[in-house]
């Protein structure tokens, strides 16, 4: 099975707050790119971006017990990284806030939009991952194999899962039907 499918974001956050080092590493693996992208959005120097990224993760560590909705961690991380970026950009004299009435487009704002898109994309990923986890085990195992790139042959799937080759297609259809019933893709 794809390792990204193994556990929901909520479960990872709860495990991380209970001191599970592996869960914390998984949080970093899933969200380090988001934090980094947001930190870059204020045109800070490379060193400052690194400091903002580190500060964001440290702030998560000390605030993780207070998160009311563990599933909203991407939004929390993005907001925190943005806030720390703004703080540092102001101190460095870097921030140029664009008049909303102006036609000028600030690159930092464009990057911030990208970061927001990443947050939304990540939330959609989390919802799909959660729906996937609600499927019966045989569905998850079959779909995980079919999602591999390239997917294994039906012969190999048949041997791996111990099911008849002729039932793979119909089972796939039933599993996808179940998935579409629990989430609007």
């Amino acid at each position: 099975m794809h390792d990204v499918c193994d556990i929901t974001t909520e479960d990872v956050v709860v495990a991380a707050r209970n001191g599970d080092q592996g869960a914390w590493r998984e949080l970093v693996r899933r969200h380090a790119g988001l934090v980094w992208t947001v930190a870059r959005s204020s045109r800070l120097s490379r060193q400052d971006v690194e400091d903002v990224s580190q500060a964001t993760w440290l702030l998560l560590a000390v605030h993780i017990h207070e998160l009311k909705d563990p599933g909203a961690i991407r939004g929390w991380l993005a907001t925190t990284a943005r806030r720390e970026s703004i703080r540092l950009a102001r101190r460095r004299g870097l921030e140029t806030l664009v008049d909303p009435q102006s036609a000028a487009v600030d690159q930092a704002d464009a990057t911030a939009v990208d970061a927001e898109a990443l947050v939304l994309q990540g939330e959609r990923q989390d919802r799909v991952r959660s729906a996937f986890l609600q499927l019966p085990d045989h569905c998850r195992r079959l779909l995980s194999l079919l999602l591999e790139d390239p997917p294994p042959s039906y012969e190999k799937i048949s041997a791996t899962l111990g099911i008849a080759r002729g039932s793979i297609g119909p089972t796939r259809a039933r599993c996808l039907d179940r998935l579409r019933k629990v989430i609007d893709l």
Binding site: R29, R30, W36, W57, V62, R87, T96, L97, F132, D149
Partner: protein
């Protein structure tokens, strides 16, 4: 949505790299190392005010070296920290430090450097360590830290 389209969406979402524009390995290591602060048995000072929250004027470029000021509360003790290009300046709002109070500057690896507090409750650090820091307040066996900030 037909089955093939559903599979395509699943593949794009479940296989999407979580790090599209990857941070460097050093940033990943720092993020992983931050876990050591998850279960630290220390209270967190309450942030009462943060100048970073004050809105800047549209179209105005911030002055170079603009300091940011944060105010924290530890029980009845209020500490103001101002971070600027010259380092960290702080003051205990009530004036002189209460007996037994100690302040430390802490770095992510756990290194703590005592802060010298003068008779008026002021302290200053001109040689800041690189990276984020926080201030620890030790009083009557209780320990509390400010949230982390980049100096």
């Amino acid at each position: 949505m037909d089955d093939d389209e559903t599979m395509r969406v699943l593949r794009s979402l479940l296989d999407l790299s979580p790090v599209p524009t990857g941070p460097p390995g050093r940033a990943i290591e720092q993020a992983v190392s931050a876990a050591r602060w998850v279960r630290v048995d220390e209270e967190l000072g309450e942030l009462l005010a943060d100048s970073a929250d004050e809105p800047a004027l549209a179209g105005v470029r911030g002055a170079t070296g603009e300091a940011t000021m944060m105010t924290y509360r530890f029980d009845d003790l209020t500490v103001v920290c101002e971070v600027g290009s010259e380092g960290l300046w702080g003051q205990i709002e009530s004036g002189a430090a209460p007996p037994g109070l100690r302040l430390e500057l802490v770095t992510p690896d756990g290194t703590a450097t005592p802060l010298e507090v003068d008779a008026h409750g002021r302290f200053m650090v001109t040689q800041m360590p690189p990276g984020p820091v926080c201030v620890r307040c030790i009083r009557d066996e209780r320990r509390a830290i400010t949230p982390w900030f980049v100096a």
